[in-house]
């Protein structure tokens, strides 16, 4: 604490060794963009933060913004808990965001091109870049849509990826998600909640808004709807209230002003999709589905399930209904395919990747496998087809028995696993129950909407997930992680549109119940 004018906002705050702290730099002084923040936090104090935390929990429970937390591997969900929003927002300066935005948009464009290629020309296979045997071995490779091209060639209407920062501050891509990335509702609700709970933290910052997301999504969904007479009908398709993301499904439907449907509400007649309404069947043009391919049409996928809408795939193939994301996009965000994304960017776009991958190793490859098994205690091993942190093995946190178990799993079915170098995630000050601040690891999940094949828009910010346990690198909310409001700052150098000077209209006077006819009113 060299400078007395810089308050020590967090007495006892100790950044984790070997990691970047995004607020406090070396020596404990805040980074330039975080100075105001540090002072606001100091002003608020532990007591203020703790009190705001209590109000937050009450509001979230009242509003039903809750999350299911599982007790451990494979356990049943315990119960609803208020979504754990940390009260210290994360700040991303304009220049850094510019890189992220370009990088994510670039990846989504490349992944979209890859999906199209996988189901059509196989050019990247013929160019010898991605082996066909790898593609067909992915569980999300969707044979029923081979040769089907959705409207505008857009597959990944909604996408995202998980970004982390290494000790040098570089942003790295941990995973891509072009199936049904979830969490955007928390991004929007977090912002609303923050403005209500700790408005004083906003002072001194110009934060870019996020609330236009539902409109952006609706625009994308309408633009891919098959042409018809009048307004296209868009619906959000949820697996139902027992789904852990039901809150988000309902939220998006409400925000877009469209129906939230379940499979039983939809029916396909003569290759056209309808929903059952009180006024009979009503044509549906565009379906934002929040469930896996497997549950879309029992005639085409999983023979063991009757979930889904029979015939929907036929309607989709005929082009009478748009489905977002397109069926089969899962092949592109498979963790083994992730390894090839930088090559895809070069191959399809002729560009250099803006964002680097976290180093990923394919365990199906004998050489890479041998090398990884050698240093199993230093790396992270993940199953390729899973999401939500399921089955993730973290070498440095594993004991001898766990190491042996993981080694056996990999050796039995190497194709099911990939390995990644362990990244020392950056930290951000995070409130503890008593309101004091502590350094906790974070990642970032930005959300992209592909309006058309060339236009990918990224919501400024995204979901910052934070591990709430000291030293933990697991940020998944299903595994006890929390989230932070993520502020992308306006570019101070960017000339802003100048608002015209406010010329107030002449409004009639406001009345307070005094009788009109009485001019000689008495004051009391």
């Amino acid at each position: 604490m060299a400078d007395v004018s810089t308050p020590t906002p967090a007495p006892g705050y100790a950044p984790a060794p070997g990691c970047l702290d995004e607020v406090f730099g070396a020596g404990g002084a805040p980074w330039e963009h975080a100075g105001t923040r540090a002072r606001s936090l100091a002003h608020l104090g532990a007591e203020g933060l703790a009190a705001a935390g209590r109000r937050r929990d009450a509001i979230f429970m009242d509003q039903g913004i809750t999350f299911e937390v599982s007790g451990g591997d494979g356990d049943r969900a315990v119960r609803d808990r208020p979504f754990p929003l940390d009260l210290v927002p994360r700040i991303i300066p304009a220049a850094e965001w510019e890189t992220i935005e370009r990088g994510v948009a670039q990846r989504i464009r490349a992944l979209n091109a890859f999906v199209d290629d996988v189901y059509h020309g196989h050019e990247i296979v013929r160019a010898g870049i991605v082996p066909w045997s790898l593609i067909v071995s992915r569980s999300h490779f969707a044979r029923p849509v081979h040769g089907v091209r959705p409207p505008g060639g857009v597959y990944c209407h909604v996408g995202g990826c998980d970004l982390v920062r290494d000790a040098d501050g570089a942003w790295l891509v941990l995973e891509d998600n072009v199936r049904t990335p979830s969490g955007i509702s928390y991004v929007l609700e977090n912002r609303v909640a923050m403005a209500r709970l700790v408005p004083e933290l906003f002072s001194g910052y110009r934060v870019r808004p996020v609330e236009h997301y539902p409109q952006l999504l609706l625009t994308a969904l309408r633009s891919v709807a098959p042409a018809g007479d009048g307004d296209p009908t868009v619906v959000v398709w949820t697996p139902g209230p027992s789904n852990s993301a039901y809150f988000e499904h309902a939220y998006l439907a409400r925000q877009m002003g469209v129906e939230l449907v379940e499979a039983s509400d939809l029916v396909v007649r003569e290759q056209v999709c309808y929903m059952r309404t009180t006024a009979g069947l009503a044509r549906v043009h565009s379906v934002y589905r929040r469930l896996d391919d497997d549950f879309i049409d029992p005639l085409e996928f999983r023979p063991d399930t009757l979930l889904g809408v029979p015939g929907l795939l036929r309607a989709y193939r005929t082009g009478t209904v748009a489905i977002a994301n397109a069926i089969g996009t899962g092949v592109a965000d498979d963790k083994a395919i992730h390894h090839y994304v930088p090559e895809m960017i070069r191959f399809y776009l002729g560009e250099e990747p803006v964002l680097r991958n976290v180093r990923t190793h394919l365990l199906a490859d004998p050489e890479q496998r041998a090398e990884c098994l050698e240093r199993l205690a230093e790396i992270v091993v993940k199953p390729t087809g899973e999401s939500g942190g399921k089955g993730v093995f973290i070498g440095p946190a594993a004991d001898a028995a766990a190491l042996a178990r993981q080694r056996a799993l990999v050796e039995r079915d190497p194709g099911r696993w990939i390995a990644q170098d362990l990244v020392r995630l950056s930290t951000v000050p995070t409130t503890q129950a008593d309101g004091r601040l502590a350094a906790r690891h974070v990642d970032l999940r930005p959300f992209a909407v592909m309006v058309d094949a060339d236009d990918v828009q990224i919501v400024p910010g995204g979901l910052t997930r934070v591990a709430l346990v000291e030293g933990s690198l697991i940020v998944n909310s299903s595994r006890g992680g929390g989230s932070k409001d993520t502020w992308v700052l306006e570019d101070a150098d960017q000339p802003r549109d100048v608002a015209p000077e406010y010329v107030p209209p002449t409004l009639p006077e406001v009345r307070y119940g005094e009788p009109w006819h009485d001019q000689s009113q008495q004051q009391q």
Binding site: W132, S133, S137, L299, D304, R314
Partner: protein, 292 residues
């Protein structure tokens, strides 16, 4: 050889059902060895038919009966001409690891659905032979030697594990086991669905309870530069498939080529009756189809 095929499926429901959607994979494939002269599908109650070709090249006929009904009949007729299969090529094991083998082998090498089971390991140990072709023929013998062909012990969704447990099964189970054993040896293999003509001495007609299944193994040509070839093997009938086998299509397993697959709305239970009738004809004799 010429065949007239009639494949009749009749469902009766013990109550009214609606929105009965079905996907049929019943049309004989057109190939160098197989010519389809006639093909028709009739549905009762009447329904509009939609056709498309799936990822594996099989023609799919889809239809929906929307109105309430208690009976559904699917009447498939086809006339096909087949020729005998060429002699399968001989090649060394080493050819299985070459890129021009692995490329077409693709997903047909994946050990999907095969259980980790010591009984399977034991069977696997006995399938080693001098050449890949020898292993293919060995497997075609080994399965019927080890397992009894008996209907009713397994069902449409049975796994290889069920066959191992029961010690008996039907052609579908035999093929699934054959696929698992071949793929473990690095031989790409695929499930084939089709019709089989079974000759009983002088009789020219046969009736099967349902459609038949066998498999095709991908064997290197033995000549460098030539593409590997798919060789049909019927583990139910202990040998290579031939003129009597009429192929509909193939896939990784049964799930990719089910002859019929459907769903309907309503609480009623369905009773199924399916018959396949095949007649040998002498070329294009239209009278022959009328025999059923």
């Amino acid at each position: 050889m010429n065949f007239a095929i009639r494949y009749l499926t009749e469902y009766s429901y013990d109550g009214e059902v609606t929105d009965n959607l079905n996907a049929l994979r019943v049309r004989p494939a057109a190939s160098a060895r197989q010519r389809v002269d006639e093909f028709s599908v009739r549905i009762d109650p009447e329904a509009r038919l939609h056709r498309h070709t799936d990822y594996f090249g099989t023609e799919v006929v889809e239809f929906a009966v929307t109105e309430p009904h208690t009976q559904l009949a699917i009447d498939v007729r086809a006339r096909v001409a087949t020729t005998a299969a060429p002699v399968p090529p001989q090649a060394e094991w080493s050819a299985l690891t070459l890129a021009d083998y692995l490329e077409p082998a693709g997903e047909f090498l994946l050990a999907q659905g095969a259980p980790t089971d010591p009984r399977l390991d034991a069977l696997h140990a006995t399938t080693r032979a001098r050449t890949p072709l020898a292993t293919v023929l060995l497997v075609a013998e080994l399965i019927p030697d080890t397992f009894e062909y008996r209907a009713g012990v397994t069902y449409v969704g049975s796994t290889v594990g069920d066959l191992l447990d029961a010690g008996a099964g039907v052609c579908q189970d035999f093929v699934h086991l054959g696929l698992a054993l071949l793929r473990r040896r690095g031989i790409a293999a695929r499930y084939v669905s089709g019709y089989l003509f079974v000759s009983h001495g002088d009789e020219v007609e046969s009736v099967e309870v349902a459609t038949h299944a066998w498999l095709e193994a991908l064997l290197p040509s033995g000549t460098p530069g030539e593409e590997p070839v798919w060789v049909g093997v019927d583990p139910t009938n202990r040998g290579l498939s031939g003129e009597f086998h009429v192929k509909i299509g193939h896939g990784r397993d049964y799930g990719d080529v089910p002859p019929t697959k459907g769903v309907y709305r309503g609480g009623a239970e369905a009773a199924l009756e399916a018959t396949v009738g095949m007649t040998r004809t002498s070329g294009l004799d239209p009278a022959a189809t009328a025999r059923f």
